[in-house]
């Protein structure tokens, strides 16, 4: 009974933390509670969530993807450079860039048997060079009229709700369905929980893993596109400083770094927590730079809380 209530608490803790944080910030500044502000805050969180949503899958299989910020930057460059030339087709092109980068990370990590954080770090180096190559190392502006024609799905609003939120929620639903309803989702959990067992039951673990990394790259690509649409430009350093918050919102949401446990909605809640913490710090007057310190410690603390220590005997 005690055990059960404890796991139940762990399930709902992130949500409780989010509500408490929102109340705290709201007490500090009443305008925070206005519907417009709430929507704006949520919309601002969506790029972070999109980036983190794919990484969640990778963390659930017990790996890590450190290449997402480079991938998002690269796709923003692809979008900005090719939108004037190819029109709407620049969007799938940019997504494909993310798919390839994610696949490369997965392939290197599984087939070449390189630990994922080094494999994805190495891939991110290549991806960064690619981003620089696409944009010729410059920041590329997306002309306003092109943005009007092709990117309103990301930056406009519909029924009074910013489209970022629609996009974010759509991917939340799709990825949750993939994770919750498909065999792939079950295998992702299985690999995270006990990779050898899944292997022994005759399943091609590498293929599932590569699929997870590919999804991670894809989502980073989508995040890069939405980011570029919001900012009206693409640049090879656009998504820098996003990696740490992205991993933070996954573990803060309650997904364990040791794999097996987690879900996309947790990352959604985690992203909102990270955003509210950031807003709260700005209210109190913590500088943007010092916020990195706080995120560094939040990350370490959240990992410490959520990690399943029974599973790893030797911690490297």
């Amino acid at each position: 009974m005690k055990m059960e209530s404890r796991t139940r608490l762990q399930t709902w803790l992130p949500l409780i933390v989010l509500v408490v944080l929102v109340l705290l910030v709201g007490l500090y500044d009443r305008t925070f509670f206005s519907a417009g502000n709430m929507l704006e805050v949520t919309a601002d969180t969506m790029t972070l969530f999109l980036m983190a949503s794919g990484v969640t899958l990778v963390i659930m299989i017990g790996g890590i993807d450190l290449s997402v910020q480079a991938v998002a930057s690269m796709t923003s460059c692809i979008l900005a450079v090719y939108l004037p030339r190819f029109g709407i087709f620049a969007i799938p092109l940019a997504v494909i860039g993310g798919v390839i980068a994610g696949f490369a990370g997965g392939y290197v990590s599984t087939r070449l048997r390189i630990p994922s954080f080094i494999a994805t770090l190495a891939v991110s180096g290549v991806v960064l060079s690619a981003g620089n190559w696409f944009s010729e190392t410059k920041s590329v502006v997306i002309p306003g009229e092109l943005s009007q024609t092709y990117l309103t799905w990301a930056v406009g609003d519909f029924l009074g709700v910013p489209n970022e939120i629609w996009v974010g929620v759509a991917f939340l639903l799709v990825l949750s369905a993939v994770l919750g309803l498909t065999p792939f989702g079950r295998l992702v959990r299985g690999i995270g929980a006990q990779e050898r067992a899944v292997m022994a039951s005759g399943i091609d673990v590498d293929r599932i893993k590569i699929a997870a990394y590919t999804l991670s790259g894809t989502m980073a690509g989508v995040a890069g596109i939405v980011m570029a649409a919001r900012l009206g430009s693409g640049s090879p350093t656009l998504a820098n400083e996003f990696l740490l918050p992205a991993i933070a919102c996954i573990v803060v949401g309650g997904t364990a770094i040791t794999g097996g446990v987690g879900s996309i909605w947790r990352t959604f809640v985690g992203a909102l927590i990270v955003q509210v913490v950031r807003i709260g710090m700005t209210f109190i007057g913590v500088s943007v730079f010092a916020q990195q310190i706080v995120f560094g410690f939040i990350l370490v603390a959240a990992v410490a809380v959520t990690m399943d220590r029974a599973k790893v005997l030797v911690i490297k």
Binding site: G62, G63, I64, V108, S109, T110, L112, R113, I114, P115, S116, F117, I118, A119, L121, A122, V123, S124, G125, V126, V127, L128, S129, A130, N132, W133, T137, E195, R196, M199, P236, L244, I247, I257, G259, S287, F289, A290, Q291, Q292, I293, V294, F295, G296, F297, L299, V300, V303, A304, M307, R309, V312, L313, V314, I315, K316
Partner: protein, 337 residues
Amino acid sequence: MYQMFLGGALRVKAAALAGGAWSKQWRRWAPVAVLVGLCIIIGLFNPNFFGGANFVRMLNTAAIPLVICMGVTFVILMGSIDLSAEGVIAICAVAASMLVANDFTGIAIGLFSVPAAILIGSLVGLLNGFIHVKFRIPSFMTTLGMGFAGIGLATAILGGVMVRISDSSFRDYLSLGRVFDIPAAVYIAGVAVIVAYVIQERTRIGRWVYAIGTDEATARNAGIPVDRTRIIVFGIAGAFYGLAGALSAAQIGRGHALISQDRLFTAITAIVVGGTALSGGVGSVLNSVIGVFIVIVLTNGMVLMGIEPYVQKGVQGLLIIAAVALALDRSRLDVVK
């Protein structure tokens, strides 16, 4: 003589020469072969590569990466990873530049700022190790968080500005001054390599690092104080980052939070290209020296051949993948996370 020295250092055993050990032997010497091959190829493309001035330039570029690698190598030999190098270097560089004569603080303790930076670095390193071991958090997470926190701290201290160093003797002694036409930084890096080599070969910590990296459970059963060794090794790594921070500040004459940008990536590339296995237990600080020169020669060669600088990171990334894939002893791994 040179061969004997390097041979002994890279752990070549005469017995290993016999029979089926050929591939193992090749793996051991591959980094040296790669370095020599690279030099020859680049030299063929551009004879200026072999000029004395270019050689000194490469040595000077290699100095700071060498110091950083001496630290990271020990951590990797244990099978862990340290992703905090950039953050720690940033803190130490900012601290060092604030402790010598500068335009930000009134303090001017001259060269004493170097031990101060090393001390700060090792304290942050010990904190890394402590959090990693006591709270049982994987090292890549601990150090990732600490690295970001470090860069944040360095930026927050300065509020986004730079510290200008006005103490010219600090810069001369640490970096710019030349003896026999070779910059001081190179000598300091040389001393750092020797210190690291002595730690590796002549201290218990050095031996234990190999034991832990090879098989931690066995090491524990054999009575090695694994937890304490881990914390100390992270502290040693931090000390090297501290020195690297002071060197960086002296080299450019300023202290700021982004002083160490891309250093980590280069260091890890150099270490794995040098033949130290990420799984731990295999490698040496001398492998990392070879690795650093491979990366530096390659970078230098790309510049000489007129390849855009932004391509370097991509090439480094491919190098990591190729080196690890070639050197990996697949029989030892079943589950790769």
